[in-house]
């Protein structure tokens, strides 16, 4: 079982690095299928951009940490920030797509996307922040 850890400054311009690392790692032996790589790239982007936005300014010298575990049957990635934490079950639910009010909402799509793109996701309070753990199985895309 191989592991990769990446620590980045809490800055949005590092998101492209994160996407590259995670997708390249997941394309190694045995590779995730292409469509799952797309899911992974987007889910990781969403989780990491939330982590970077949540990271406390006082903690700007501490990194956002991305840890990947490549297992035979699945790819797992944890993203850890130094933010104030949140309750994922208490988020505003977006109006239905056929509700004209849907157009009022330009944000709030990140967590729903993570939920649909991954096979499993947990949001754990960590001392001083949050750990988002996402799992993508190699087989049977969830979508």
């Amino acid at each position: 079982m191989a592991e990769i850890h990446l620590e980045i400054p809490p800055r949005l311009d590092y998101l492209a690095v994160v996407r590259l690392v995670v997708a390249t790692a997941a394309a190694l032996d045995p590779p995730l299928p292409d469509s799952r790589l797309d899911d992974l790239r987007l889910a990781v982007t969403e989780a990491c951009s939330n982590a970077i936005k949540a990271h406390r300014p006082e903690a700007e010298d501490e990194p956002v940490v991305i840890s990947c575990r490549l297992e035979d049957d699945r790819f797992q990635v944890d993203i850890r920030d130094r933010g104030s934490g949140f309750d994922p079950d208490a988020l505003t639910v977006l109006p239905d797509v056929d509700d004209p009010k849907r157009l009022q909402h330009e944000s709030g799509l990140g967590i729903p996307l993570i939920r649909v793109l991954t096979d499993e996701v947990t949001f754990e309070p960590a001392p001083d922040g949050t750990i988002v753990s996402m799992t993508l199985n190699r087989s049977s895309p969830s979508t």
């Binding site: 492209a16 996407r19 797309d38 987007l42 982007t45 797509v97 157009l103 330009e106 996307l113």
Partner: protein, 120 residues
């Protein structure tokens, strides 16, 4: 992400629609630039807009949010924003978010400027 706006000399007749061609990645870093451009166009009176996404290979929730906001602004000015997209990666993202039912998504700029308004 790169942006390019059609000018009136363009080879293709766009029936008065303005075509904005985006290429690259529309992520949280690029989205503000796209939003600024779309808002400027709509506030400048170009509320019939085509956003050509054929050269875009990645879009995140921030990029989707910008498109939602542009559609709202254009429609409330009796216009629309139509998306040209055949890339299955992006179509999947529109699909899983349900936004394929909110956006008008077509296969070419030509389709975008000729489909009837009520198909949106």
């Amino acid at each position: 992400m790169e942006l390019e706006i059609s000018d009136s000399d363009a080879a293709v007749d766009t029936h008065g629609w303005t075509v904005l061609t985006a290429t690259g990645e529309i992520d949280v870093a690029a989205a503000p630039g796209l939003r600024e451009q779309l808002v400027a166009l709509i506030e400048g009176g170009s509320n019939e807009l085509v956003v050509d996404l054929e050269g875009v290979d990645f879009i995140d929730s921030t990029g989707l949010g910008v498109l939602v906001g542009a559609v709202r602004r254009a429609r409330s000015a009796e216009g629309d924003v139509r998306l040209v997209c055949t890339n299955s990666r992006l179509l999947k993202v529109f699909d899983v978010t349900g936004l394929d039912e909110v956006f008008t998504i077509v296969e070419s700029v030509d389709d975008a400027v000729t489909v009837a308004a009520d198909q949106g």
